[in-house]
């Protein structure tokens, strides 16, 4: 699995001819946790949208494990920001994970024993089995993130795109979610999270992408997460927490 790569070549995403992401080329290895860093309007969300097929790239291609974009879309799961979710929606944790099966089942195919097994396995991996019958608003912030990860696992997604997953979590919940993401990476998944809390980056992520319309820097956190790169990405007022 870890030989898988997500290859982005010359990707440009524009809205009304105004580019949000400029000629971006990246080769990401599965089995890593990657932080996507950049100021507001840097194109982080646009990149995610292009990866899951919500916007059509103006130029460039996306390949996962040698397959083109259409096939790749099924293997990529997008986890929205907390504010984008209607937490009062009548769905339990298990119901949420079951939604992950819909894309594979299509509209009419019977929900079978295999699907139920995949859902239970995903819940167990995310340590949510005991909370499976809870409505999603009756979970803590960290549990809510894990519930959405369980849906991605039930979908059998290989790549997980998380939009600001650590926002609003307290320290213990952050640590636990960080450990969960590492566990997913160790199992061969590629985990990419947009993130804004710079001081936690070295603890949470193996690699870093600095994005500001175009690629500023990409590489191992230890090598690339430098004051110079932060400065180039965020401008001179960047707050590093140091």
């Amino acid at each position: 699995m870890s030989s898988h790569r997500l290859r982005i070549s010359d990707l440009t995403v524009s809205y009304h001819r105004v580019p949000a992401v400029h000629h971006l080329s990246l080769e990401l290895r599965c089995g890593r946790t990657i932080a996507l860093l950049g100021p507001n309007g840097a194109g982080k969300t646009s990149l995610f949208k292009a990866l899951v097929g919500l916007v059509k790239p103006e130029t460039g291609t996306i390949e996962l494990g040698g397959h083109g974009a259409r096939r790749a879309i099924r293997d990529i799961a997008y986890l929205p920001q907390r504010e984008a979710v209607d937490w009062d929606f009548p769905v339990t944790v298990r119901g949420l994970a079951e939604m992950g099966r819909y894309a594979r089942l299509g509209w009419w195919r019977q929900y079978a024993a295999g699907d139920a097994e995949a859902v239970e396995r995903a819940l167990a991996l995310m340590e949510l089995t005991e909370l499976a019958d809870r409505q999603i608003s009756a979970l803590s912030g960290g549990q809510q993130q894990r519930a959405f990860l369980a849906r991605a696992l039930a979908q059998e997604a290989h790549v997980m795109l998380l939009d600001e997953p650590f926002t609003g979590l307290d320290k213990p919940a952050q640590d636990m979610l960080g450990a969960t993401l590492r566990r997913l990476a160790a199992a061969g998944h590629l985990v990419i999270a947009s993130h804004h809390d710079l001081k936690t980056v070295p603890d949470l992520f193996d690699e870093v992408i600095f994005l500001n319309g175009e690629l500023v820097a990409f590489g191992e956190t230890a090598q690339v997460f430098t004051a110079a790169n932060i400065d180039r990405t965020f401008g001179t007022q960047a707050f590093t927490g140091k």
Binding site: K49, V52, P80, F89, P90, V91, T92, W107
Partner: protein, 298 residues
């Protein structure tokens, strides 16, 4: 007493009305799940009011033939729905404003047209319904609509749930979100036409919102909202009709009032999301925390 309770079941017109009520209540109740989740209630109200000019034009052109009324209402509602989208997209006026403006104008136009009609039209019937006057042709229209709308909603349950919950994620999984939204509005217009006969233009919203809103206070699954809403809609509508017979009150208003009363009871007493349960839970927590601070005698 028993005789008094059973009396409505002896009349053929009441049996027919009860049957119609159950079917309309069920279809509208099922659909109400998606109206509540998609927050379409106000849009539904606007659509209901905009049916009136269509009915009026149909009366002017074809007299009181049900097929004519059906198509008149359908065209009017679609014109208002599409006109709203058009104004919202092509100008700086927002959707709620254009919707409000168009439906008020449509309703007024309906009133003017009906006053011009050479046929004597009981405006009252369109505004507040007349379930006791159900003709065979009306029943056929109701049948037809139920047999289109219900299977459609059941077949599209999965993509609809995905779309209601997270439109962006649904789209990323290949669901055609816009097409589904238009389809939902079409289903809304159809169900509304079926409920016109029972509760009329002004009260139609009650049948389309109350059932699922009630179940929403008990259940945590869309399937429960859908089927529970249908069942509650059917039972509540029939009960309302019976109450109106027993107490000699207007039927449409009784149907909506019974559905409203059931909702109110749920709002107060639902064990999970009711107001009473919430107050009790809060008090329980308060007492627990007081307990923790009590000095323990050793």
């Amino acid at each position: 007493m028993i005789d008094w309770l059973l009396e409505p079941f002896r009349h053929e017109f009441m049996q027919r009305a009860l049957f119609g009520c159950a079917l309309i209540g069920f279809t509208n109740g099922c659909l109400s799940a998606f109206i509540v989740l998609r927050r379409l209630a106000l849009m539904a109200d606007a659509v209901a009011h905009s049916l009136l000019p269509g009915l009026a034009v149909a009366v002017l052109l074809f007299g009181l033939a049900p097929a004519g009324l059906f198509f008149g209402a359908l065209v009017a509602a679609l014109l208002v729905a599409l006109g709203t989208q058009l104004i919202a997209r092509c100008s700086r006026v927002k959707e709620d404003t254009s919707l409000g403006l168009l439906f008020a104008c449509a309703f007024s136009l309906g009133l003017v047209l009906l006053s011009l009609s050479p046929v004597r039209v009981e405006l009252h019937h369109y505004l507040f319904g007349n379930i006791l006057g159900l003709a065979d042709s009306d029943l056929w229209v109701i049948y037809g609509i139920s047999f289109v709308v219900l299977p459609l909603l059941v077949a599209l349950e999965r993509p609809l749930i995905l779309t209601m919950f997270e439109p962006a994620v649904a789209a990323s999984q290949g669901v055609r979100v816009n097409a589904l939204n238009y389809l939902l509005v079409a289903a809304l217009v159809l169900s509304m036409i079926s409920s016109l006969q029972a509760v009329g233009v002004v009260l139609a919203l009650g049948m389309l919102v109350a059932p699922a809103a009630t179940i929403y206070l008990f259940a945590d699954s869309v399937a429960a909202l859908f089927w529970g809403g249908g069942l509650l809609g059917a039972i509540g509508s029939c009960l309302g009709l019976l109450v109106s017979y027993w107490l000699n009150l207007p039927s449409g208003a009784c149907i909506v009032l019974v559905l409203g009363a059931i909702f109110l009871a749920a709002l107060l007493f639902s064990p999970r999301y009711g107001l009473l349960a919430r107050v009790l839970r809060r008090r329980h927590l308060h007492e627990q925390s007081l307990e923790r601070w009590k000095p323990h005698a050793h």
